[in-house]
């Protein structure tokens, strides 16, 4: 494995996603992509599922991508990346074809929560099982934001969306968030991690690690969405950070080695594990976001807030256990 990436390294590396794209002000997706591409090792090919990132970075005849990029459809980015990776392998094997000249190519798939948790899950699971050597980055804005904020398998409980409205009877989404990263890890693929743009070096290093392993890697990044989560654009990083500090979105890595899935807490979460008093109450995270406003107005719903807190605690405990901290 190469030397640990430093801030200096990534500062020197030019951006591969160019300005001029039409992502919303305050959107985390652009930051996620720019940071991720800082970790690439050389030649890169990207595949992108249908979603915000795809529509906002390309509109014919414009493109923000400085690297080869393909969008196929919504649910098949993992299969598309499988094809790219297999094509490269075949060309290397035969030592002919246009990609045979490259020593290696970093194949990265970007997809949102809809394209990963829901409609794209089958293709993703299949690609993991087959062991294709590519990195899948899930930027999770917790709903179908591109089409106007509809709930997905990644939407947290009680969040308002246009298909899980906060009504008189039902207070937003009724289900919990699917534990997608843990499900990915259970595929026994070489590398799975969760990451946050509030901790950029941690994220970039994880991307590098995901690219370096042989076989599939999966990184789940929380992607706060100013439009869908209903908060002012300047609060994106703050909210991303609170998600980690409240343990709503703990940061960890899972490596499959020697017949075991080895979970490790990443330092921002590790700190909390060491000093539990650092763990902030979930209310701090919820109250900043308009999608949870019905938990605070017209009447504060302590029952629901504590229910969410309980879920966060359970999930955190589960991760601590897996990381050998309990």
């Amino acid at each position: 494995m190469a030397e640990k990436l430093t801030l200096k390294d990534i500062a020197k590396k030019p951006d591969l996603l160019m300005p001029g794209h039409r992502l919303c002000a305050g959107c985390a997706a652009g930051t996620i992509v720019r940071l991720a591409l800082k970790a690439t090792r050389g030649p890169v090919i990207l595949a992108n599922a249908t979603g915000c990132l795809e529509v906002a970075t390309t509109i014919f005849p414009y493109s923000s991508w400085k690297v080869p990029w393909i969008h196929n459809a919504f649910e098949n980015v993992a299969a598309t990346a499988s094809g790219i990776e297999a094509a490269f392998r075949a060309m290397k094997k035969a030592n002919k074809g246009p990609l045979a000249k490259y020593e290696h190519i970093d194949v990265i798939a970007f997809a949102g929560d809809g394209g990963t948790y829901d409609i794209g899950f089958q293709a993703l699971s299949g690609a993991f099982e087959r062991g294709h050597d590519f990195l899948y980055i899930l930027y999770d804005n917790e709903a179908y934001m591109n089409t106007g904020i509809q709930r997905s398998g990644g939407t947290p409980r009680c969040a308002w969306t246009t298909t899980s409205p906060a009504g008189k009877v039902i207070p937003g989404k009724r289900e919990w968030k699917k534990p997608i990263a843990r499900i990915a890890a259970e595929h026994e693929i070489p590398y799975v991690a969760t990451a946050s743009i509030a901790y950029p070096m941690d994220f970039v290093r994880k991307v590098r690690k995901g690219l370096e392993v042989e076989g599939p890697a999966f990184i789940h990044v929380l992607s706060p969405c100013t439009r869908g989560w209903r908060y002012p654009p300047e609060k994106t990083i703050k909210i991303a950070k609170l998600a980690v500090e409240t343990c709503f979105f703990p940061l960890w890595e899972a490596e499959f080695k020697e017949g075991d899935i080895v979970y490790t807490l990443s330092s921002p979460s590790e700190r909390i594990a060491r000093k539990p008093e650092l763990k902030k109450p979930i209310e701090e995270y919820l109250k900043l976001q308009g999608r949870f406003s019905h938990l605070f107005r017209p009447k504060k719903r302590d029952d629901l807030i504590s229910e969410i807190q309980r879920w966060v605690d359970y999930e955190w405990k589960m991760i601590l256990k897996r990381c050998g901290k309990l």
Binding site: G42, P43, V44, I45, A47, E54, V55, T58, I59, F60, P61, Y62, S63, W65, K66, V67, P68, W69, I70, H71, N72, A73, E75, N76, A78, A79, T80, A81, S82, G83, I84, A86, A87, F88, R89, A90, M91, K93, A94, K96, G97, P98, L99, Y102, I105, Q122, A123, S125, G126, E129, R130
Partner: protein
């Protein structure tokens, strides 16, 4: 010295074409699926992505054996669905690979969305369709409902009469798909079971002849978003963006380019079919006439049934009845002009459809054929026969019923019922 001089002379004769070297073909006993798999083995594509059921055929099983035995360099991706099979082919072909897949019936239906994307991305993927009935009710036997549903997806569709043609077309398909004036994916369609699972004699070309015929994949160039003319491929040295958002300001123009590509396809299909004839002795075109010259009655149709129909034509000819047939090899692009040329002076035409188009005025082929004749001042009477759904057999006797009906139409100069269903209990 003398021997050297002789060799030199032989070489000169060979190069100059004075003495044409005969290509030695090998006769093999193959069913249609195996014929396709064998052709693909000789093509040795970079990537084959396929799903084994819903339903698949022997094609990928045979091909897997070639992979397992190291006879090809192909990366075989055992995907988890047909949707992913074609999706992976899109990724692979965009990365510059030759990509192949095969499917049938519901598997093709599951690919639906990606059929259009593969065509609009102008990716020269080749896919064998072993034509089978679509569910429901669930059925695995031959009809054309699968391919007919995909007729507007932007793929070239070649329908084969026998396993020999399945082999030959699977080789030609690459040349058609990758032609710079075409750059479209190609479906090679062969009837399930009747061809797919039936052993036939197939003449096969030597590997090196096939390899030479298809050559290396060449790339068209496009101007990328940096204003640079670059090959149309995902190459880190020359980045391009494939599959961008494309709204009302350019989508229509891109559809026009697809339309033009399809307009170029007939010429290319014929050129490739002729060139293939030179190396194999088997020439292919858009349509294949049989005993049509002086025919008064003709049937027109697709696939293996037209092979059976030739026997029926022969029998009727023996009786002195002037019948013939026109087999449509290329359904997309639809060879309207060629059909008119071949059939305009016939008195009666029977169009055979092995697919139902519910609520439509006749089957899909019938609609196209009759439409083609609309502007002709003198045109034949055209009647439609829908047959063989879900694998209902089409023996010579049933074809005879059609010819008898056409004879009656010729005599009475009247079509009492435009659309008839053959071999069904009512």
């Amino acid at each position: 010295m003398q021997r050297n001089a002789l060799l030199k002379l032989l070489k000169w004769l060979k190069i100059s074409g004075v003495c044409k070297m005969e290509i030695k073909q090998i006769l093999m006993g193959l069913n249609g699926d195996e014929a396709v798999a064998y052709a693909i083995k000789q093509v040795d594509p970079d990537v084959v992505a396929a799903y084994p059921i819903t339903p698949q055929t022997i094609i990928v099983e045979r091909f897997s054996e070639y992979v397992a035995d190291g006879e090809v360099h192909t990366e075989f991706i055992s995907v988890e669905s047909e949707h992913s099979a074609l999706s992976a082919c899109v990724g692979a072909a965009a990365a510059g690979a030759r990509a192949f897949t095969a499917t049938a019936a519901n598997g093709l239906a599951l690919m639906w969305e990606i059929l259009y994307i593969a065509a609009s991305c102008r990716l020269p993927i080749v896919m064998a369709i072993v034509n089978r009935a679509l569910s429901g009710p669930i059925n695995i036997h031959p009809d054309h409902s699968d391919a007919m549903g995909a007729r507007d997806s932007g793929w070239i569709q070649i329908f084969c009469e026998n396993s020999q043609e399945a082999y030959d077309s699977t080789i030609q398909a690459w040349r058609i798909a990758e032609h710079p004036d075409v750059q479209l994916p190609v479906m090679v369609c062969l009837d399930g079971f009747v061809l797919g699972h039936t052993l036939e004699n197939v003449m096969t070309l030597p590997d090196e002849v096939v390899k030479k015929f298809i050559g290396e994949r060449k790339f068209v160039t496009v101007r990328n978003h940096f204003g640079k003319e670059v090959p149309f491929i995902l190459d880190p040295e020359n980045p391009i963006t494939i599959g961008p958002l494309d709204l009302y300001d350019f989508y229509f123009e891109h559809k026009m380019q697809q339309i033009h590509a399809m307009e170029n396809a007939p010429r290319v299909i014929e050129e490739v079919g002729k060139e293939y004839g030179k190396i194999s002795g088997r020439t292919y075109g858009l349509v294949h006439p049989y005993k049509l010259e002086d025919a008064e009655i003709a049937i027109i149709g697709l696939g293996s049934t037209m092979g059976t129909a030739k026997i029926v034509v022969d029998r009727l000819r023996e009786k002195g009845i002037k019948v013939g047939l026109l087999r449509i090899r290329s359904f997309r692009p639809f060879p309207a002009q060629q059909i008119i040329e071949h059939l305009k002076d016939k008195k009666v035409i029977g169009v055979l459809d092995r697919a139902a188009s519910f609520g439509a005025y006749g089957g899909p082929l019938f609609n196209e054929v009759r439409n083609a004749f609309y502007d002709q001042d003198v045109k034949p009477l055209i009647s439609n026969y829908i047959y063989g759904l879900g694998g209902r057999d089409m023996p010579p006797q049933r074809l005879m019923i059609i010819f008898e009906d056409l004879q009656k139409i010729m005599e009475t100069k009247r079509i009492e019922k435009t659309v008839k269903y053959i071999g069904v209990r009512e």
